[in-house]
Amino acid sequence: MALRDKRVTMAHGGGGRAMRDLIEEVFTSVFQPPGSEDQARLMADALQVPGARLAFTTDSFVVTPLEFPGGDIGKLAVCGTVNDLAVGGARPLWLSAAFIIEEGCEVALLRRIVATMAEEAAKAGVRIVTGDTKVVERGKGDGVFITTAGIGVIAPGVDLGAARIAAGDVVIVNGVLGDHGATILAARGDLALSSDIASDCAGLGHLMQTALAAAPGIRAARDCTRGGLASALNEMAGEAGLAVEIDEAALPLRDEVRGVCEILGLDPLYLANEGRLVLFCPPDQAEAALAAMRALPEGAGSVGIGRAMAGTAGRVTMRTAFGGARIVDMLVGEQLPRIC
């Protein structure tokens, strides 16, 4: 063990032995990327299938606190990019991971983050094949920022897109909503709330492939991250040129998430999720999709919550449990806790 420091110093970004020790001991020994070159060389077998397409995506991750009930920034960074590939119908294969580390960051924390990344990557069936580290001075970062990029392969015949959504399609989500957003709000500590909720953060690659196998007619899917279900539905309805109606009584919500929302005056439809997707499925295949999804742990709570229909393009409405109806608009700015 050449790395003796408890905390990352500027020396670990200096290009010398300290940097090499950090990279080898903390990162590459765990991720075990193929080869030792500065690039990953990947077998293109998966692309040899006629009609197969390559999917390529990237995402950056920042979160306070870095570790929270149900996950950490590393888990977000792997699942987030896996899910971006998954909801497009791609089978995720390879990831890159770049770390911007703030001087003073604990090495033990980095090791924990890397361990969760390796674990999540294994679960998702992807390999972290290349990466990078940079160190910035104290005060110029927030512990760790991670950027991941991902490559996946879309099988021939799979062509998901919101433009394909048709009137009558069933809207399906894969479980309770808002757990991640509520968890982060509570975990931040400045609101002094505590609860037993944990983030829903999960990789959805297998779930999406399973759903597609059971219901090949699935038109489109999105992950409900920032802006929550409401934002995902608004985007999709707009691209589809259709209206979407959801049913408040059918929305899966945990009591604790309702509680956080009541206390802070927030709307759970806009809370972030990191392991939830929304998909549109033709009505005759909806039961098959739901049954297949429910057989997996990350889809156990799958449920139909509404449908697409002819109407004002991009308009999302919710039938309230009370018998009324209201518009579910895009979020303006960020949702702020309110007292009145």
Binding site: A186, A192, S195, D196, V260, E262, I263, R338
Partner: protein, 93 residues
Amino acid sequence: MCLGIPGRITAIVDEDRLMAMAEVSGVRRAVNVACVAGNDLTALVGQWALIHVGFAMSLIDEDEATKTLEALRDLGEAQETLEQMARSEEALA
């Protein structure tokens, strides 16, 4: 104006500062109970209070809540009777 929600007081956490733990749907937050405290703080434990900006502002009166709900039920039943009367009138017409 004035978001307030019912929470159950589960424990007294700081007697000097009149702070108690309140729970709303499984979410806990320390709240000030000065407005609802009698002589015996422990008597608050188990009671429901209306919580606003971290203060228990008013104890919830269960009898009054029941009365309001009963009035709603009576109204619902009266409505049903009216509808039945309307239906039988239609049938007779």
